[in-house]
Symmetry: C2
Subunit: 162 residues, 2 copies
């Protein structure tokens, strides 16, 4: 299988959105995707892009993507976060995910990031094995905490008198 890894363009966003939805189904949260194609275009390609995206392009279409943005570690300094790395089901096992990850790590080095971080579901053993084989550490004792939009409103109503 031949493909090119390249920075995503605005017109790739419908394909990127399809991949995001495909992953949400895999992660058993099919209705969680509230972001639209228009929102991805606006947030990724405006005057102050909120993320950077790479796609795997086979010439026939986009079969995978990696979406990243900067973070900041108070221990290490500037870092890069990999929010999603998604390969469409039929293209798995072709080395495409690995090629996308390599592009992300290269981008991290080129932009002076001291760390690349991402998150993985603890039951996704094939992914965990792959990441470990590439030298990543799995921090099993750290949990992700989230306050969603309703939680934000609720919090402010109850604890900030707003």
């Amino acid at each position: 299988m031949e493909y090119t890894i390249r920075p995503a363009r605005e017109e790739d966003m419908p394909a990127v959105h399809r991949l995001i939805t495909e992953l949400a189904i895999f992660e058993k949260e099919p209705n969680a995707v509230e972001v639209t194609v228009e929102k991805l275009k606006e947030d990724g390609f405006g005057p102050e892009p909120r993320f950077r995206c790479f796609v795997a392009d086979s010439g026939m279409g986009v079969d995978g993507m990696a979406l990243v943005y900067p973070r900041y570690s108070t221990w290490k300094g500037p870092a890069l976060h990999l929010e999603d790395l998604i390969v469409t089901e039929p293209a798995r096992g072709s080395g495409l995910g690995s090629a996308l990850l390599t592009e992300v790590i290269r981008h991290a080095r080129d932009t002076g990031a001291k760390r690349v971080s991402w998150e993985v579901l603890d039951w996704n053993e094939p992914a965990i094995r792959f990441y470990k084989s590439r030298g990543a550490r799995i921090l099993r004792d750290w949990d992700v905490v989230q306050l969603d939009e309703r939680g934000i409103d609720h919090y402010l109503q109850h604890y900030a008198g707003l």
Copy 2:
């Protein structure tokens, strides 16, 4: 105890750095802090700040801080990440941590964030109880993955022929 929650200024960075080091000791990683006071000034107060910081100021000094930056959820859209929320040992239990968290949530709402995220050590039960009481979800099945600076170099040498 009286204090003001306000945006950090460049001259607060020595105090912020002391708090970062204090937390690293609590988390049993006293040597992990590579960031310097100068680096915090540069990264937080340059033309393109990499983070935003709030401090709790008692008039006698800075007793707590919260450090945040934007993230991007491919499900929800723009999000805010709370990297650190630190209260100095003697000031704990005074409501200062809670006031800093409220300021962060307010900042999230004001900047249109659809989610606030952070990470917690799974043995830090008092913190987990506090976050849950404020409506946050603890995602126990997600693990944090990190590739550090040496890992980045090693990866690129072995998997990208660089």
